[in-house]
């Protein structure tokens, strides 16, 4: 029993890393554009399919496929940002928050149903990154999970380095603090918005590509991580990248433990989804600014 709990906790940790990657993408978008991206889970889904088709059609090695999937997700997000989100930057648009919600919600419906037609409603499974499993004593974990967690950590570290060390990262940070001041010191804010939305999408797409061999791909695969990412972002404090990483790991592990400890095994998987949603509702009720929030950002 204890072994089982440990395995579930470790599985949860792996998923937690993936959740953290998705959620940091959502956070980057939120802190710059000040909108919640309801299509984030669908970009994650597209990332998984991009990787699948790059492998199946072009025969690229899986590692490279993850990078290509990230680039394609970046491009897809930039496309949506350039065509649909520009009213967010115009002073004549009323209630920009509402506009952002509705437009991204529309994008999510469009992408999910388009995926059903283009990719088919049936689950697809891309080839493994590495065959076989890691065996330590009587503990077994597939290499795919180990690899996904490792790559996820690399992505997170890379993101943190990018945000703190590069000029672009500092521009992002500046715009997230004050659009006007950033414009005064000569930062092209339009470019920063595009970069932020693309970066968020790229992270989500990368997570989708990494998850592909572990869970199968399906058009509706974005729905659950989407809400999970909201939980994490809210828990970690909207706009805080570090908070999102911690909260992602926390949610992943507690979800694994929930599956292990729920008394009725036939229902534990179904209620694992409801569990994180209930956590989300609880957090929103008790501390809407999250537990690691760096600032209280007004939602308008």
């Amino acid at each position: 029993m204890l072994d089982y709990i440990l395995v579930q906790a470790l599985n949860g940790l792996v998923i937690g890393v993936i959740y953290a990657v998705i959620a940091t993408g959502l956070t980057v978008i939120f802190s710059i554009l000040k909108i919640v991206n309801f299509a984030h889970g669908e970009v994650y889904m597209m990332g998984g399919y991009f990787a699948y088709f790059v492998i199946a059609l072009l025969g690229l090695p899986p590692l490279l496929a993850v990078l290509v999937a990230m680039l394609l997700s970046f491009a897809l997000s930039v496309l949506f940002e350039r065509t649909l989100l520009t009213p967010l930057y115009s002073p004549t648009t009323e209630r920009k928050g509402d506009y952002g919600i509705l437009v991204t919600f529309g994008i999510s419906i469009l992408l999910r149903n388009l995926a059903i037609i283009v990719f088919g409603p049936f689950p697809l499974r891309p080839p493994s990154f590495f065959e076989g499993s890691l065996v330590v004593g009587n503990f077994v974990m597939s290499w795919d999970r180990v690899f996904a967690a490792g790559a996820g950590v690399v992505l997170l570290v890379g993101l943190l380095a990018f945000l703190s060390r590069s000029a672009w990262g500092q521009a992002l940070n500046a715009v997230s603090q004050s659009r006007e001041s950033a414009a005064i010191v000569g930062i092209n804010d339009r470019l920063v918005y595009t970069l932020a939305f693309g970066l968020g999408g790229g992270l989500a797409g990368g997570a989708g590509a990494l998850v592909g061999p572990i869970y199968a791909l399906s058009p509706s695969m974005g729905l659950v991580p989407d809400t999970q990412a909201f939980v994490i972002v809210v828990l970690g404090g909207m706009g805080s990248v570090g908070g999102s990483i911690i909260a992602g790991l926390l949610i992943g592990v507690s979800e694994g433990l929930f599956v292990a400890l729920f008394p009725d095994p036939t229902r534990s998987l179904a209620y694992a989804q409801a569990f994180s949603l209930l956590v989300l509702m609880g957090v929103l009720l008790v501390r809407p600014t999250g537990f690691f929030g760096r600032v209280h950002v007004a939602m308008e």
Partner: protein, 320 residues
């Protein structure tokens, strides 16, 4: 300005009464379904368009009303109308509860919270299959002995007229101004003396109650309830209806529902492309005609007469 809507409403009422006699059984069913969606879309428009309370939980309340009334009738063997009233009361109370606990939240927080609420509800209904029938569905006894759709159609029409009348009276009164004041700026509204807390809870209660009412009708009409009725895609359909029609006006949302449902059936041959089309249409409407396609068309109609235009320029709100 006043004349035209009344004439339009009268013409519309006559058309609605005559409609089931003019078409075949298939389109009668479609029409009934369209009225069901119209009620939901109007309740969403009240919450989002008027009061600015962003809710993605409307279909959750529909499924709460549908399952609630069906299960109450089954368990307690009470007559259907009592089950209906009870379920609507439950939805109103739960809606008021959500309005109360969400008082601190706004915009996306509220949208996420209500979406989570309706997803949790859907998962519970799906998982507790001994009670609800799960994915296999819950069979609901028909309401009328008649084999045709006529009684359902007129019941739906009566419910639509009743709920539109109730919500229309609310938004045409001072309350409507309070709602819009809250939508535009909560602090300013509070400073101007609007009881923000009371009206936010009120609008949630009414909006949820009306959605639940639509659900109680949907259950016996459709005959078999599945948890999918509360899914995000269903919510997306309602959002598309209200936004394409014009979410800031109740009649526009209703007409949007009719338009989208008719289009949905007309495009039946295209199968799964339909939701893609509506997603795209929703995006285009948001991007280029934010007040809705019908509101846009309505403005064109109003521009036809210079008299009407002068009446408009006096400053009366474009739709009320």
């Amino acid at each position: 300005m006043r004349r035209l809507p009344i004439a339009a409403m009268a013409a519309f009422a006559v058309l609605a009464f005559a409609y089931p006699h003019l078409v075949d059984a298939y389109w009668r069913t479609v029409g009934t379904l369209a009225i069901f969606y119209a009620i939901v879309a109007a309740s969403w428009a009240l919450l989002v368009g008027y009061a600015g309370q962003f809710s993605f939980g409307q279909m959750g309340f529909v499924s709460l009303g549908a399952y609630g009334s069906a299960l109450l009738v089954q368990w307690l063997a009470i007559p259907f109308p009592i089950g209906m009233v009870a379920a609507v009361l439950v939805c109103t109370v739960v809606g008021a509860g959500i309005g109360f606990v969400c008082l601190r939240m706004r915009g996306p927080y509220l949208a996420i919270f209500t979406m989570a609420f309706s997803e949790v509800l859907r998962i519970v209904i799906l998982t507790e299959n001994e009670v609800t029938g799960g994915a296999g569905g819950l069979e609901v006894a028909p309401l009328f002995h008649s084999r045709t759709v006529f009684p359902y159609y007129y019941l739906a029409l009566a419910l639509l007229a009743g709920s539109l009348g109730l919500m229309g009276m609310m938004v045409a009164s001072r309350w409507g101004l309070f709602f819009r004041a809250i939508r535009e700026n909560e602090q300013a509204a509070a400073a101007a003396g609007v009881k923000v807390v009371r009206f936010r809870i009120l609008v949630f209660a009414i909006g949820s109650g009306v959605a639940g009412l639509a659900g109680t009708f949907y259950a016996p009409f459709i005959g078999i309830l599945t948890p999918d009725i509360g899914s995000v895609d269903q919510m997306g359909e309602v959002v598309a209806m209200a936004v394409i029609g014009g979410a800031e006006s109740l009649p526009a949302a209703v007409l949007g529902a009719f338009f989208v449902e008719a289009l949905f059936e007309a495009l039946r041959a295209y199968g799964e492309w339909r939701l893609v089309i509506f997603g795209g249409l929703l995006l285009l409407t948001m991007r280029f005609a934010r007040n809705g396609l019908l509101a846009l068309a309505w403005e064109q109609v109003l521009r036809l007469g210079p008299v009407l235009q002068r009446a408009r320029s006096i400053g009366r709100p474009a739709e009320s």
